[in-house]
């Protein structure tokens, strides 16, 4: 006979994502509980709902209102990254010991035109050791996995233009195969070719950086949402999963 648990669960939001962060909460901490570590060395400039600019002081996240539904009205909150902005979360558990999917939504603000400008990075702050990344090679975004010795990539065939609404979905399989998908302005996803396999034995660190590769190679974009889930998930699942 199996006895029921002593107590019922408390009324809290139970996440099914590994990590879920939304800019519209005006908080760098993830909804799934991970504490976000944010820093910026200097001031920033960001726009409010009316397009009014303000100078954002040292160390304060640069929240900016963006148009996410294509009606020219700034109705959605985003976090403006790039420059000296840094934001990372600790990934509880050992990411990569199971397949995982990352899904990130942002308004393109120029990163795609800069070589090695980053959207996302899983690894160590000094970029030593193995890592997983989404970055630009100036022609398009690509996903990359470096296991400490070799690299595999999955390169998209098209790049968004400045102001485009971009959703990137990347899958990582435990055998080291990676694949990147892209949706621009709400259109159907296009996919990059899945990479070949590459031996995986853990990342340099279980940190997930948004908008930079550790302490380096920032990418200027306005981020709305980030999700990481275990398993190989579709875009519809990543949009719905909590």
């Amino acid at each position: 006979m199996t006895l029921p648990p002593l107590f019922g669960s408390t009324l809290t939001r139970r996440a099914r994502s590994f990590l879920h962060w939304r800019a519209d909460r005006f908080d760098v901490n993830a909804l799934t509980g991970q504490t976000g570590t944010f820093s910026r060395a200097g001031t920033a400039s960001a726009l409010d709902f009316a397009g009014t600019s303000a100078t954002i002081v040292h160390s304060a996240p640069a929240w900016q209102m963006e148009d996410w539904d294509g009606d020219s009205s700034r109705e959605s909150v985003a976090l403006l990254m790039g420059g000296s902005n840094r934001l990372w979360w600790p990934m509880i558990g050992s990411l990569g010991s199971d397949n995982f999917t990352v899904y990130v939504e942002f308004v393109e603000r120029g990163a795609v035109g800069v070589n090695s400008a980053h959207v996302l990075f899983v690894g160590k702050n000094d970029v030593t050791g193995a890592y997983f990344q989404i970055a630009s090679n100036t022609s398009a975004y690509y996903a990359g996995f470096y296991n400490g010795t070799s690299t595999v990539t999955s390169l998209l065939g098209a790049a968004p233009s400045t102001g485009n609404r971009v959703a990137l979905r990347a899958t990582f399989e435990t055998d080291g195969k990676i694949q990147l998908f892209q949706s621009i302005n709400g259109a159907a996803e296009t996919s990059a070719t899945k990479s070949s396999a590459l031996t995986f034995s853990g990342f340099g660190d279980n940190r997930l950086y948004l908008g930079s590769a550790g302490d380096f190679e920032p990418g200027t974009n306005a981020f709305l949402r980030l999700r990481v889930s275990l398993g190989l998930r579709s875009a519809a699942e990543m949009q719905a999963t909590w």
């Binding site: 669960s9 009324l11 809290t12 939001r13 139970r14 099914r16 519209d24 909460r25 005006f26 820093s39 001031t43 726009l47 409010d48 709902f49 009316a50 009014t52 600019s53 303000a54 100078t55 954002i56 002081v57 040292h58 160390s59 304060a60 929240w63 900016q64 209102m65 009606d71 009205s73 109705e75 959605s76 909150v77 519809a236 949009q239 719905a240 999963t241 909590w242």
Partner: protein, 269 residues
């Protein structure tokens, strides 16, 4: 046509098509405390009402494209898993005639009743009662306003703001006015903020924090005068409808002494 989403997933994607959304369009119940008068008829009314909680009663049919008993049973499990196992839910109402809005709640009761012959019951009636501790709906997205400006665009229910005052600034202040130009909420601080400092005035948690180059300290002692925490009440402003997408809004006038950011989420009754 309204579309209902739970935690980002359309209920129709689960096979659940709503026929009745109960009191979702109604005001949350409000109750004013009344005190009987000794040996006299009547009562003395209180000033502050107890508002909410809001109860949503969603009724609909669970059907599947396969239209089999097996598919129905599987869909029942999906519905129970999605509605009952997620803890606190975010229920979102989207339609093409008003701004989207959402509210948090938990499933208090979920009744699923297959109909038809037991061996042929390919569909079921679903009755779901969701209790929402908060009385008001909220916009799915927050609003960010940079000062200086003149008006705050609110919804139809009070919002609780976060005010971020940027340095450099000396003795900053912020005020909200009603249509009679009477100050309804204000905060004033005695502090000198450098260019690498800011002050967070969080009216949701009642906490004031001074941040110096990323280092956070308690800033409540910097509050010199005012009403803290305060809300932004659309009843102080002028209601108007600019367009269908934005819906009914209320512009509330404010003034700020310095560069500030005001974060809030529009609320709807």
């Amino acid at each position: 046509m309204a579309d209902w989403y739970v935690n980002g997933l359309a209920l129709s994607a689960l096979g659940l098509y709503l026929e009745d959304a109960g009191d979702s369009r109604s005001l949350a119940p409000a109750k004013y405390p009344l005190t009987p008068l000794y040996k006299r008829a009547g009562a003395v009314g209180g000033v502050l009402p107890e508002v909410g909680p809001r109860v949503l009663t969603l009724r609909g049919k669970l059907v599947t494209s396969a239209n089999t008993v097996t598919a129905r049973v599987q869909a029942e499990d999906m519905v129970k898993d999605w509605l009952a196992n997620a803890g606190l839910l975010t229920i979102e109402l989207r339609d093409d005639i008003a701004p989207a809005r959402e509210i948090d709640g938990y499933v208090e009761q979920l009744t699923i009743q297959p109909f038809g012959h037991p061996l042929l019951a390919v569909a079921a009636t679903v009755d779901c009662r969701i209790v929402c501790p908060e009385a008001y709906w909220r916009a799915p997205q927050g609003t960010l306003v940079h000062t200086p400006g003149a008006w705050l665009p609110l919804g139809t229910a009070p919002s609780t703001p976060l005010l971020r005052i940027h340095g450099p600034s000396t003795n900053p202040s912020f005020s909200v006015y009603d249509l009679a130009n009477t100050v309804r909420a204000s905060v004033s601080f005695t502090v000198t903020l450098t260019s690498s400092e800011y002050l967070d005035v969080d009216c949701a948690t009642g906490v004031i924090t001074k941040v110096s180059s990323g280092t956070r300290t308690n800033g409540i002692s910097l509050l010199t005068s005012g009403t803290f925490p305060f809300v932004l009440d659309p009843a102080w402003g002028h209601p108007y409808r600019r367009n269908v997408a934005e819906g009914l809004t209320s512009q509330v006038r404010y003034s700020a002494s310095d560069t500030m950011q005001l974060f809030f989420v529009r609320r709807y009754a």
